[in-house]
């Protein structure tokens, strides 16, 4: 009797699995056109870099809530509400690919925001390209828009500038404000994006006559920077550059390097918020950090940027300006879809995104960068250069869109 029961259970299981398998086979992997405009988000929501992914999710949540509360999106004769569906990409290429598959074939999203670095973005694009789904990443390398040795990515866009657009302006400011700074140490996280950024910085620094005295990488989650800083500081740098350090790592090594007697500058290229950085670095230690930012403060800021920052802070209790990057893309995407008169013709929407001018946060934005990326896919907007002075994040310069896009003299 017992044997019979086991056989029956096993048979039932096999039958169930077969049915599920057949059902899955019969599903055509073609994205359906949903009634709601669905935005997929594919970023790390757990693990040591969740503090990058979760703010991105919160930024999009807020923007989508604002768009829906303002009446939604008018496409043709219909009004659509936007729905955000988030998947954790585990900060791996494979995890990103799986997450993108779920978003496209299970949730039928119309667009995917993510990943946040190059390797997870490449994972997303493995799925979005054949599915003809527009993808906007925050990746840092040119690989996200023109992957080497791989098929082209005709539906890929980017919302966050890469070092290619930003470092000339920031180093220009440092050279002008601190002409005595000659030696630079590169200290960054050990991943594809950071190595790309540091290689680009090294190339530019050589061109402008600054000396790279050290190049070191650390693993994500590193808490104790004393050993690596001992090595770096033995070269007596005037500037420590860390392009893509997360807020906690940046804060920790700023604090520890000051404890070790370092008196020089720091430079990095992700929009941060001083107030948040100070929680780990301490206010005084962060003095001398030069970075770029969106126009969410400073003399050229807009009321829309300020309102968004205020609403974000009220809702989530903190503010990092980088969270406005993907909402800016969604604004542009929505405007492009409205112009296209529908959400099913991806190529038409891509064409509008490539050629149109859009308004987001009260700033004129457009997709540019055809000279460098092959097609105009980089969401470009005027940027701010800021420096922490006297414990405050002070605007010290601007980088116009034209300055960001001027071809490099050394490529």
């Amino acid at each position: 009797m017992k044997k019979l029961s086991i056989i029956l259970v096993v048979s039932a299981l096999i039958a169930a699995l077969t049915i599920v398998g057949c059902t899955q086979k019969s599903v055509t992997p073609t994205p359906e056109v949903p009634k709601t405009l669905k935005v997929g988000l594919c970023v790390p929501l757990s693990g040591p870099v969740a503090d990058w992914g979760i703010p991105v999710k919160q930024g999009l949540e807020l923007r989508i809530e604002q768009i829906n509360n303002a009446g939604g999106v008018k496409i043709g004769q219909d009004t659509y509400n936007i729905e955000l569906i988030a998947e954790d990409n585990l900060f791996t290429s494979d995890g990103a690919k799986t997450a993108a598959e779920k978003l496209i074939y299970r949730d039928h999203v119309n667009v995917i925001c993510g990943g946040i670095a190059s390797h997870d973005t490449l994972g997303v694009q493995l799925v979005t390209t054949p599915a003809k789904i527009i993808n906007c990443s925050m990746a840092w390398t040119s690989e996200a828009l023109k992957p080497e040795g791989q098929p082209t990515v005709p539906y890929a866009f980017k919302s966050l500038p890469t070092p290619h657009e930003t470092i000339r302006g920031i180093w220009g400011y440092i050279q002008q404000a601190y002409p005595q700074a000659k030696k630079v140490a590169l200290l960054d996280a050990n991943d594809m994006s950071s190595r790309y950024g540091e290689a680009l910085n090294a190339k530019w620094l050589k061109y402008i006559g600054l000396q790279v005295v050290s190049e070191e990488y650390y693993e994500y989650g590193t808490k104790d920077f004393v050993p690596i800083l001992t090595k770096v500081l033995s070269q007596n740098p005037d500037v420590i550059h860390s392009g893509s350090a997360g807020m906690s790592e940046l804060g920790t090594f700023i604090k520890q390097s000051r404890q070790m007697g370092y008196k020089g500058l720091f430079m990095q290229e992700i929009p941060i918020t001083g107030e948040l950085l100070f929680q780990t670095s301490g206010q005084e230690a962060a003095n001398g950090l030069v970075t770029y930012d969106f126009l969410c403060y400073g003399p050229k800021t807009t009321s829309e940027y300020q309102d968004f920052a205020k609403a974000f802070k009220e809702k989530y209790g903190y503010w990092i300006s980088a969270v406005s990057a993907q909402p800016a893309f969604i604004d542009c995407f929505v405007q492009a879809v409205e112009k296209a008169g529908g959400i099913s013709d991806t190529d038409k929407i891509v064409g509008i995104l490539e050629t149109g001018t859009f308004k987001s946060f009260g700033v004129d934005m457009r997709f540019a960068g055809a000279d460098y990326y092959g097609r105009p896919r980089m969401l470009s907007q005027p940027l701010l250069i800021s420096e922490i002075k006297g414990g405050e994040q002070v605007p010290v310069g601007n980088i116009t869109v034209d300055e960001q896009l001027t071809p490099w003299p050394i490529e």
């Binding site: 040591p48 969740a50 906690s248 070790m260 780990t280 209790g317």
Partner: protein
């Protein structure tokens, strides 16, 4: 390499400072394993809770650091008692179920804290700012004080296990539960005490690192990974093993970084694999 002799000393001392903190976390983990044969995967999250509670007490309630450290130690210890009484004792004797429960609990705690306090790293104002200079060696004062407190806690535990009746009873249960039971030792009470001590130590370690580094809700995972390395090197369930393993890992990371940069972390794992092959019981573990 271009490092001065003073810099080398600083790196070495930093390795010891790091090592004592690793040792403290691993001691709690080893203790639970030694007495209850429990692979307590929640340990890293208790460390995170310690750091987070310390941050909250200091920033929200303006408590002085020493009081926050003491309170966190007691709080996490009491949490250990509750966990033992309400949850884990239902599974004693079933190692696999306990392992899964501790793993699930780790995820629940990590995600709940993430939801409650957000993903961003935070920090507390240094309670002991400044540098201590000795000859030409400069050391961060806060790190030095934290290392001294860590050593103090380790010595206090050692004293407790050697001299106190309850400590000796814990050792007896760890060595031979049946013989201990025949001697009239109540294993159930000893397990509760072990949970209290183990989680109190993990919480204290979290509170100790809070002023040194940033505090985030994701810090528990890497702490657990480091703990695994320490106990594999030193020997699971061994008091001196946890200390030796902790110091080895601290020195390896501190000195290794000078020579091979970020590869030092990979070397830690390589050594763990080598140990698992040639000396799976670690330096002080039982075969």
């Amino acid at each position: 390499m271009g490092l001065t002799v003073a810099s080398w000393f600083e790196v070495l001392i930093n390795g010891f400072e790091l090592g004592f903190i690793y040792a403290l976390v691993a001691l709690g983990f080893s203790l639970i394993y030694g007495v209850g044969r429990i692979i307590f995967c929640t340990h890293g999250e208790i460390y995170m809770m310690g750091a987070m509670f310390c941050y909250l007490l200091i920033t929200r309630l303006s408590w002085p650091y020493p009081l926050a450290l003491f309170s966190v130690t007691i709080l996490t210890g009491i949490f250990g008692l509750i966990l033992d009484r309400a949850l884990f004792r239902r599974f004693y004797g079933n190692d696999f179920n306990i392992f899964i429960v501790s793993l699930a609990l780790a995820m629940i705690i990590a995600n709940s804290f993430m939801e409650l306090f957000g993903p961003q790293a935070v920090g507390i104002t240094e309670p002991f700012p400044g540098i201590v200079s000795f000859l030409t060696i400069d050391l961060a004062r806060d790190k030095l004080i934290v290392a001294v407190i860590s050593v103090g806690l380790i010595l206090a535990l050692k004293f407790f296990f050697d001299r106190a009746k309850a400590g000796q009873a814990i050792r007896a249960v760890a060595q031979d539960p049946e013989a201990a039971s025949l001697q009239g030792i109540n294993k159930s009470q000893i397990l509760s005490l072990t949970f209290f001590l183990s989680l109190a130590v993990a919480g204290a370690a979290g509170a100790l690192v809070a002023p040194l580094y940033s505090v985030s809700t994701s810090m528990g995972q890497s702490a657990l990974l480091d703990t695994f390395i320490v106990v594999i090197l030193g020997g699971l369930g061994s008091f001196p093993g946890a200390i030796l393993g902790g110091l080895l890992l601290g020195l390896l990371q501190s000195i290794g970084t000078i020579f091979i940069g970020h590869f030092a972390y990979l070397v830690s794992f390589t050594i763990v694999i080598i140990f698992l092959v040639i000396k799976p019981q670690g330096f002080f573990g039982h075969a």
